[in-house]
């Protein structure tokens, strides 16, 4: 099991550019999440998904979009990058909210917008 994998590890964008952060999990988890971590802070939820075809907003969704076409993949899209989106992005997954819901995190993507 590779667990939760994310690509790329690092990226520098110019203001107004777009990109997709990739996230894949091989644990057959239903729930997947995107968080961002700003310097010196804990993580905040951007979007989450409870299964293929179902997504919902978290605490800080503005400027991002997601899709969930398969159980394994949960890409995060930045359409018009802004300096405020400079952050470390973590993807996570968990089996089931109502039963055992330990969340497992990927290694993160460090994004800088200049």
């Amino acid at each position: 099991n590779a667990g939760v994998t994310q690509t790329p590890k690092f990226r520098i964008l110019k203001i107004g550019q777009s990109m997709t952060l990739q996230c894949t999990q091989d644990m057959n988890h239903n729930y997947m999440y995107w968080y961002r971590q700003d310097p010196g802070m804990g993580l905040k939820l951007i979007y989450y998904s409870v299964g293929a075809g179902i997504t919902d907003k978290g605490e800080v969704p503005n400027g991002y979009n997601v899709s969930r076409s398969t159980t394994e993949d949960f890409p995060l899209r930045l359409e018009l990058a802004a300096p405020s989106q400079t952050s470390v992005y973590f993807c996570a997954s968990s089996q089931d909210r109502d039963a055992y819901n330990e969340q497992f995190f990927g290694p993160g993507t460090r994004l800088t917008v200049l």
Partner: protein
Amino acid sequence: GIQVEQSPPDLILQEGANSTLRCNFSDSVNNLQWFHQNPWGQLINLFYIPSGTKQNGRLSATTVATERYSLLYISSSQTTDSGVYFCAVEGRQAGTALIFGKGTTLSVSS
């Protein structure tokens, strides 16, 4: 929403010392996890502990759900224990977010 407070914010130890990190939360929870974020930024799951006590080597954790707090114990600390320790909780109401505290930054020197 649910509030998570961690203390102390910073902790400096000599190698071999013991420490206790505390996490207070403001409402009932379905899920509580402790993480270690190492100096490379990687989040490492330490414990999934919505209630009770667990031990893993030199680390142990206790959550007293009725009193809304959790404790993480680190014994015989090593330099590799350095980093930020996060407590994160998920409330019982709708929504599946883990709410993170601001973390405790631990520095262990030899």
